[in-house]
Symmetry: C2
Subunit: 383 residues, 2 copies
């Protein structure tokens, strides 16, 4: 049997630093745990490649990546130094484009971002129930606000009109909502296996073990809001065991702060999901620990892409202080996705949680050394 | 001289309850402080009116309201009871439409939502610096994501496509950004008068007494993001005394949780402003205390509209427990707008802060009686 082969694209800023620790762990997993995985590193997409070639990645980049079983990405978006007029040389709309191109090119229509408060991680909320945060935000990743349609009429003049089209299809809406319900069921089953339970109320007063909350802004963005509402109502009939809930995006942000522990699975559009996942990440320990993946669950020939939620963080790049935890969780999710469940668990199971928690406790929830954390995790993986 | 005349539209849910307390205070201000103000109450827009007439308000509602100097609105959006299939009789996209119609009809292009942590109010953040939160979110209120353009093609079928157009004009962009800079200066001056100072750093290392942060999602919604960026850079040249800052909306949500005290004036688009103001409201004491206003600063013939940030809260309506504080701050902002500065200060100055703070302390930052708070404020106004 052919071994699994992933493409690693470290990217910019802290990307290569946290990827180095992920690779260190993969090596241990290969040597000590028999992980059957190969990888190939790519110098693109990156700022450096852009400087040399005038583009963030080669023209046939997607074709090259298509041959791999998955893509592990560090972070993109190093703006480079500022020029004389305080403008960055490479605006993020250019340097980050490959991210969106990959998601689109490989039809990675699910973006999964789980949020659980890591023990010992920095806690922003006063309420102690924050330790119970355990939600999965599922972001529609293929359309919506991110279709890149629109433009600038009479650009730069006083009469300029800039437009941006949001396009939502019923098919993509139904598949992401259905995916949300499936994940809710799966999470409930996992909880049962772990001897944990949660309970959620349905509108008609029944109690369920899981919940899906769908997000829209249907009182202002009515067209797709109504379509989402109808699709959600229809599909929920197939899942009478899952409680349902609808929140407007503004109220959802508020409730994420007031009672994030009340959410289970949250399904949101591309932009609203982007906003909610940043919020969920910071509420559950910060960007340094928030994993993310862009999945194509329908076409096995298309690679899925795994990247931490955080960006390239140019302000701390090169100092060796970026937290690799998000990257390690992301890597574990990739192994899980590739069917290497035991190795995924070894990497991101109790061991990683404990290692990180111990380290966080020691350093007061603040910055630690990237390498130190990676080495500590490796030590535990070897033991 | 003609006295000032405002239209009061209590609306639905808790709207009439909190409006009653505002009116009680206005009466005291009229009797004891010589406030020259008349008001007329309207039974619309409301759910009840809709039930009787099949529409939320009369066809000539905007013409009727146009004759007033301002509009004081309670809250809209009572969905009414659910029908047999658990659907609300009046979806919020219909019951809330008058709100958007007023904003548009009277070209209330500024939505101002200040956020300061009310002493004694519920604090969600652990960090004690939350008590220093003092920001003004200025939301573009006339276009952008809220233009209501788009529709549903092949509605209800598997091939449905729902679109929503975002339209941004250079003129509206410049006027809201310039408004932001003007407010930043004004706030800095007020702080100096009050013997307070704040300091913000510019990109080139200078220190300023105020800051404007502009929000976009230019790395994904590039067209208007770029236009905003360019307009912001251009206009900032006219205000070298104000520090500038750009944040992506997702990062801004994160920073609102991590360090909301670092913001001064924030300028955001219609939808992004909607999201950020809910977040700012909850971080600074909750919806019960967050005022809001929809201003037309350019056309004196068009009434501005003053409404608390909160909605009709059907879950607590009729119980007399809605917090009228947001409504009272909103009313004070209206008086200030109408040139009744002393009365505005009497209502929302130290007195109100103290009354509310004392009450909050007594009740542990939780729900109190609507009437009780209103009466306490009146008592202080009479004294
Ligand atoms: C970099 C940017 C285009 C991207 C997004 O908005 O999707 C990022 O914020 C994310 O959340 O992955
Ligand atoms: C009711 C709704 C349409 C409105 C908005 O989105 O503007 C509300 O959320 C607000 O913030 O005033």
């Amino acid at each position: 049997a052919q071994s699994t082969h992933v493409a690693i694209t470290p990217g910019d800023g802290v990307g290569p630093e946290v990827v180095a620790e992920a690779v260190r762990c993969l090596q241990v997993l290969r040597e000590k745990h028999g992980l059957a995985l190969e990888w190939t590193r790519f110098p693109w997409p990156s700022h450096a490649w852009h400087e040399e070639h005038g583009e963030s990645w080669p023209e046939d980049a997607l074709e090259q990546l298509a041959g791999y079983d998955a893509i592990l990405l560090g972070a993109l978006g190093d703006p480079g130094p500022m020029d004389d007029s305080e403008r960055y040389l490479l605006p993020d709309s250019i340097s980050l484009a490959p991210l969106l191109d990959m998601r689109k090119g490989f039809d990675q229509w699910v973006c999964e971002r789980p949020a659980r408060l890591l023990p010992g991680a920095r806690q922003y909320l006063k309420d102690d129930r924050a330790k119970d945060i355990d939600m999965l935000v599922i972001r529609e990743n293929s359309e919506g606000e991110y279709v890149s349609q629109g433009g600038r009429l009479r650009k730069g003049t006083q009469d300029e009109v800039a437009t941006q089209m949001e396009v939502f299809t019923r098919k993509a809406t139904e598949r992401i909502i259905r995916y949300g319900f499936e994940q809710a069921r799966k999470r409930a089953e996992e909880r049962v296996q772990q001897g944990r339970t949660r309970s959620f109320r349905t509108l008609d007063g029944r109690t369920c073990e899981s919940q899906v909350c769908v997000i829209t802004k249907r009182n202002a963005l009515r067209h797709w809001g109504d379509m989402y509402t109808e699709a959600f109502e229809e599909i929920s009939q197939e899942y009478p065991d899952v409680a349902t809930h609808h929140e407007l995006v503004d109220a959802a942000c508020m409730k994420f702060v007031q009672s994030p522990w009340a959410f289970d699975v949250v399904v949101a559009s591309n932009l609203q999901g982007d906003i909610l996942t940043d919020l969920a990440a910071v509420l559950s320990g910060g960007m340094g620990v928030a994993p993310s993946c862009n999945l194509n669950p329908t076409d096995p020939d298309m690679p899925s892409m795994f990247e931490p939620t955080h960006g390239s963080a140019p302000d701390i790049a090169g100092q060796g202080i970026a937290d690799p935890t998000a990257m390690l969780f992301t890597t574990a999710r990739m192994l899980d996705w590739l069917g290497q469940k035991d190795e995924a668990l070894a990497l991101a199971g109790k061991e990683l949680f404990d290692a990180v928690a111990a380290d966080l406790a020691e350093h007061g929830g603040e910055r630690r050394a990237t390498r130190e954390i990676g080495e500590e995790v490796c030590r535990r993986l070897k033991a």
